[in-house]
Symmetry: C2
Subunit: 341 residues, 2 copies
């Protein structure tokens, strides 16, 4: 884990872009967009709000996969091959667990464990996940603000045909998202609160973005925090733009397309836009889907759309896409409107 | 951590030795004697009772240094160079902690962490340290019984001239036992209980041994558990034999001689025997101290003594010393008695 963390403002001239940007994300895909934005925007202009519905206790450690992925990505220490975990991490602890007869199924790297130990210790002492995350990210040299969606534990629970209801990580890692999804609920969400930090960020935002994350598994848990989605709906005065995780009928990564089909939806970027409904007024989809007509789905809201290359294969392409989106936002008031799902 | 653990009965013919042996130990030195005994005695004839006064919480992990040292030693996975920790362990987690700005001073190996995680998890779920230890040791293939001195937390606290009162591991590891000791107390001991397992073992013992452990730091915490020392005193009917940790006025390892001097005692095996008082009726000291006369210290109890080579440099020498002691015990009733301190 090199301390690299410091992310320099891109050479690209975005000096005329003085808006406050808030981006809501899940794990790997969302972290890529956040990283693209962080390469362009100074720390004072970007806040990343992260899904914590994947969080779970594992061998007494509080693991927050999405927070960690965003943190490691922005710190420049992420394992680029996987998109999560720490680069060049080892798994000696997991090997020792197996020698005790355990069958651990979650990839806890030895360096990664330091994160979980510090976080678990602080949680047990009563500290809020928000301030813990702030401390950890600053220690890694991250200047941009990373906020958990809430301080309370929320657990995304997946009801499957083959295995019944599974905790998220069991579904996602242990069963490699193979069981067919029947329903999803967000346990604990009713007792969760929007944090002051999240509320302030959303109320002050000039632009709100939704990462190319799984709508049901990464964004819906954020929206399940009572009042949080309302904060987006109330901000009809600003661009609220989602980036599609579905390109040409396929998920860029993970089970988004599979779940979409299992829940009976058309596997398409249009379904994503429809899912977000009045929480967004803008949508970015891939140029490979340029023939999609969002207006075909008739609803009351209106939608600005942008079609471009949405694939983020490396650091540069993340910055390119982020810049493309921000430049487009500067033209917001002049954009044509589609009737939106 | 190879599963090696299985300790075979020595080729040495000890088949006529059918006694129940209980040995009380601290860390490295005691583990060596326990290992020597375990090479000779079948699992049904040996119980190891271990000091837990060194135990502490570190980054949310319950670390039990002496239990771990005994466990790793008997399992054959111990780092033989240090005498503690797991052989060939790595320290990636500690490196990552430092990158978070932490200054960890205790050597948590990555494999070692698996032990602490499993133990901490079980303790938090309310399980007794005794049954946790039984489970961990069995998983590592250890057949002999290893018992913590108590299930309750007891903390050996070292009052020093230079640093004031320190927790044991701070004194021992962080400050490398350099501060001068003024006094020692065993915090929590008054609220600790002798476990049923320890009581049963001591009441059923045909032989009780005290390892070559630090009297103040390793054995006194065991004796501080209310009623535990009494169980030894009451067993005047059986050999209760201590092995010296002091040879030729020096400690084999660690601060035993230094503390002895700081507390105002003669740095000698005789001081050790005197410290144990009526808890023992036998004492094994080194042949290099053959001219010591225990009778010179006049007290009411009587003491059988054995002088031999007490240095345990390798696996074989541990078994040789253990065998020498057990053979000597077979002649117990015929031994000459010294008036003892």
């Amino acid at each position: 884990m090199a301390l690299g963390g410091r992310i320099l403002r891109s050479q690209i001239d975005m000096e005329h872009f003085d808006k406050q940007v808030v981006v809501l994300v899940g794990g790997v895909g969302g972290a890529k967009l956040a990283h693209g934005l962080a390469q362009i925007l100074p720390s004072s202009q970007l806040t990343v709000i992260v899904n914590t519905g994947d969080d779970f206790w594992h061998y007494g450690l509080r693991v927050c996969p999405d927070l960690d992925t965003v943190m490691y990505t922005l710190a420049g220490v992420v394992d680029k091959r996987n998109g999560w975990g720490v680069a060049d991490d080892t798994r000696a602890m997991l090997g020792a667990l197996r020698r005790y007869g355990e069958q651990p199924w979650f990839g806890l790297g030895d360096q990664d464990i330091a994160t979980h130990l510090l976080r678990s210790l602080a949680l047990r002492s009563g500290e809020r996940l928000t301030t813990i995350t702030e401390r950890l990210t600053k220690s890694l040299g991250i200047l941009h603000r990373i906020l958990p969606m809430t301080d309370e534990p929320v657990a995304t629970m997946i009801d499957t045909i083959e295995q019944g209801e599974l905790e998220f990580q069991e579904y996602f890692v242990r069963y490699r998202w193979q069981p067919r999804v029947r329903a999803i609920r967000y346990a604990g969400a009713d007792d969760a609160y929007v944090t002051p930090e999240v509320e302030t960020a959303l109320r002050a935002a000039d632009v709100i973005l939704l990462g190319p994350s799984n709508p049901w598994l990464s964004v819906a848990p954020i929206f399940a925090v009572p009042g949080l989605r309302d904060l987006l709906v109330e901000r009809a005065d600003v661009p609220r733009v989602a980036l599609t995780p579905i390109v040409a009928g396929q998920a860029l990564k993970g089970p988004a397309a599979k779940i979409m089909a299992e829940l009976g939806h058309e596997v398409s970027a249009r379904t994503v836009a429809a899912f977000y409904g009045d929480a967004i007024n803008g949508f970015v989809y891939d140029e490979r889907d340029a023939d999609l007509r969002f207006a075909e789905v008739e609803k009351s809201s209106t939608l600005h759309t942008l079609s471009c290359d949405t694939i983020m294969n490396d650091d540069d392409s993340r910055a390119v896409l982020a810049r493309r989106m921000l430049e487009w936002l500067l033209t917001w008031d002049t954009l044509p409107v589609q009737v939106m799902p």
